[in-house]
């Protein structure tokens, strides 16, 4: 229990959770009276992306070297962090829907949450928790811009997060992102592909000290 509390504290979980709740509350306030007609699947996609961006900031940790030197099995914990985070983001939106207006179907929320959480994890594995939000954010911009009647497969893949539930191309894209992102992050950890130069520097110092 104590480990979990400390871990949650070090991964900004309270702040991320507060952000997710705030954005969900804002959506609830916007759609409560039903006058602000929700623009199809855009509003839920924006809310879920905001949630995934908040989640992604916690995928980094305070000190990479300290984390790596810990003698615990990181892989299942990291995977659980991503999956649980995605589930919470979706659950919050579904709860808001339960008390307010219907925005999206459960399948839609589940698919987008899985895909976006995977994308955030992918971003964390590539660039680290601080910069991971740029990945879901950029993809959202692409989805917003592509012409609405998605007909060809590449356009369907590009706009997967806005397509209605049950579109095979969108489901497969989300699934691929979820699996690849979670596995990569779980096995390799944050910033796996962009090692910060200071680590290299420190290693060199250590070897220099040994040589001396």
């Amino acid at each position: 229990m104590r480990w979990l509390t400390l871990y949650a504290h070090s991964r900004q979980v309270p702040a991320s959770l507060a952000t997710v709740l705030t954005s969900a509350a804002a959506v609830w306030a916007l759609t409560r009276d039903g006058s602000a007609a929700p623009g199809g699947s855009q509003l839920p996609a924006v809310v879920l992306t905001a949630g995934a961006m908040a989640l992604s900031t916690g995928l980094g940790g305070q000190d990479l070297d300290l984390d790596r030197s810990a003698a615990i099995r990181w892989a299942p914990r990291r995977a659980a962090h991503v999956l649980l985070g995605g589930a919470i983001v979706g659950a919050v939106l579904l709860t808001v829907q339960a008390v307010g207006q219907d925005l999206a179907t459960t399948e839609f929320v589940a698919r987008d949450c899985a895909g976006l959480a995977g994308l955030a994890a992918l971003g964390a594995a590539v660039a680290g928790g601080r910069y991971a939000w740029a990945f879901p954010f950029t993809w959202l911009a692409f989805a917003f811009l592509a012409p609405p009647p998605a007909t060809t497969v590449p356009v369907k893949v590009a706009t997967w997060m806005l397509l209605p539930a049950g579109t095979p191309a969108a489901t497969w894209t989300a699934l691929c992102l979820a699996v690849v992102g979670t596995v990569l992050y779980a096995l390799a950890g944050p910033e796996a592909l962009t090692l910060p130069p200071r680590r290299v520097l420190r290693d060199r110092n250590v070897s220099a000290a040994r040589a001396g």
Binding site: Q12, A15, S16, T19, S23, G39, Q42, L43, V46, T49, A50, M53, A54, S56, T57, G60, G129, R130, Y131, W133, A134, F137, T138, L140, A141, F142, F144, L145, A146
Partner: protein
């Protein structure tokens, strides 16, 4: 900031990555939306103004991204955990902040300018009409990126949390992308489409309506005031140290917004205005095009004069006397306005765009006889095209499909459908033919009644 500092910051900070990310994603977005390979007059590489407007479209995403990346940079001092050490040095805080903000803004602006340069090289090869009226459009875009970076840095310094960059980026994105699609009461007959005044606070241009229009001066002025307010607040937040001064630092952005809303045009139809210089006619005898399309005059003059001669032979005194490009800007959904003495055409019209050689004459005759009555901005297929086919066939003496109507099968369909009408018309005595054609011409010009029905001898006679 001297070059040495810039180089050090480029090596040691996130700034080069910011530029790379901005350039790659923005150019991908631009190629996705602008259909760069199309031959329409509003293509990215068609004209200077269109190019500048197109490069402003990715700002709906680039502007929030610049705020987010600026905020990431602004967190650097907080991350290093040596703020106390830095405050004890005699060098003011904003010195350090300015070098970092300058570097990030520099790379982002460099990305935006390279986007413009890519477009400019292509426009230079295409367009013969060169002018500098497009520069303010791009300069406001550059200013917006700089202001966004500074604001992001200032905000991150005021609220040093790892969540600040994504929250700022997302909040701004909702502002630029979602608000831009809110429906406003626009011109009569049209819903949505036109932006309201609040939307003009976003630097992104949503669409490029026409090659001959440009943003009006009040839009440039209002957006410049707003962006200066944003930049001042960002800078003030960088300097401010106490909560009290931070609250005070919000004053410029609020003042900028208020002032900008006063300057920005309230009427959505004043946002885009016709570029008078570009729309000025260039004529070869009785055939005129706008200055912006001067390069295409040579190919059009011959067929245009031929069409006028044939129309004169067929209609006599009622025939139009000139052919000119339509430079009027009507709101979407409005009823088109045609002239009896002038054949007005549009280079983006499907029929003319697809016409080659001899077909240009046929297309211009069809356009002169039945200019088409679908509302501005709409695309319909039906009675107008049938009437055009018959009328052009009547003037030229043979029934042929019009250029650009689509597939061969569709062309056969259209011909099969209008052939009885054409044969009935040709069987009439000459005076009755002329009377029916004149009635149809009048109905088509005034857009009252269906031209094809009149041609059949229908109710309007």
């Amino acid at each position: 900031m001297n070059v040495r500092v810039l180089r050090t910051e480029l090596k040691r900070s996130l700034a080069p990555w910011a530029g790379v990310v901005a350039l790659v994603t923005a150019s991908t977005l631009l190629y996705l939306i602008s259909e760069p390979w199309s031959e329409t007059t509003t293509a990215w590489t068609g004209q200077w103004t269109s190019m500048a407007l197109w490069t402003r479209t990715p700002l709906f995403y680039l502007w929030p991204l610049a705020i987010g990346l600026g905020a990431l940079q602004g967190l650097r001092d907080h991350r290093s955990k040596i703020s106390d050490l830095l405050t004890s040095t005699p060098r003011p805080t904003w010195h350090r902040a300015a070098t970092l903000a300058g570097t990030t803004a520099f790379t982002l602006v460099a990305a935006f300018v390279s986007l413009i340069l890519v477009g400019a090289v292509q426009v230079f090869a295409h367009a013969r009409y060169t002018h500098l009226g497009w520069l303010p459009i791009s300069l406001v875009g550059v200013l917006a990126l700089v202001a966004a970076t500074v604001l992001g840095m200032g905000a991150a310094r005021a609220l040093p949390s790892v969540l600040t960059p994504p929250a700022l980026a997302m909040g701004t994105f909702v502002f630029t992308a979602v608000l831009a699609r809110t429906e406003t009461a626009a011109a009569p007959g049209a819903t949505g489409a036109e932006p309201n005044r609040l939307v003009l606070l976003s630097p992104a241009v949503e669409k490029v309506p026409n090659a001959l229009v440009t943003l009006s001066a009040p839009v440039h002025l209002g957006q410049t005031i707003w962006m200066l307010g944003v930049a001042s607040t960002g800078f003030a937040l960088l300097v401010a140290a106490t909560p009290h001064t931070r609250l005070l630092a919000l004053a410029p952005v609020l003042a900028g917004a208020a002032l900008a809303l006063l300057v920005l045009p309230a009427d959505p139809r004043r946002v885009f205005v016709v570029d008078e210089a570009a729309a000025r006619p260039v004529c070869d005898g009785s055939v005129c095009v706008s200055r912006a399309q001067r390069a295409r005059l040579a190919g059009l003059a011959g067929p245009g004069k031929e069409a006028l001669r044939l129309l004169h032979g067929a209609l006599g005194g009622r025939a139009p006397e000139t052919v000119r490009e339509n430079t009027a800007m009507l709101p979407d959904g409005a009823k088109p306005q045609w002239s009896r003495t002038t054949v007005l055409f549009d280079f983006d019209d499907g029929m003319l765009a697809a016409a080659e050689g001899e077909e240009v004459t046929r297309a211009l005759i069809a356009q002169g006889m039945v200019p088409g009555c679908s509302p501005v901005g709409w695309n319909t297929f039906g009675g107008d095209q049938f009437a055009q086919t018959v009328a052009a066939g009547w003037v030229l003496g043979d029934l042929e499909p019009l250029p650009g109507t689509g597939s061969a099968a569709l062309n056969r369909d259209v011909i099969a459908r209008v052939r009885p009408v054409w044969e009935e018309l040709m069987a009439l005595p000459r005076a009755q033919q002329l009377a029916r054609i004149n009635a149809m011409h009048a109905a088509a010009l005034s857009c009252e009644g269906d031209a094809f029905e009149v041609l059949k001898g229908g109710p309007s006679q």
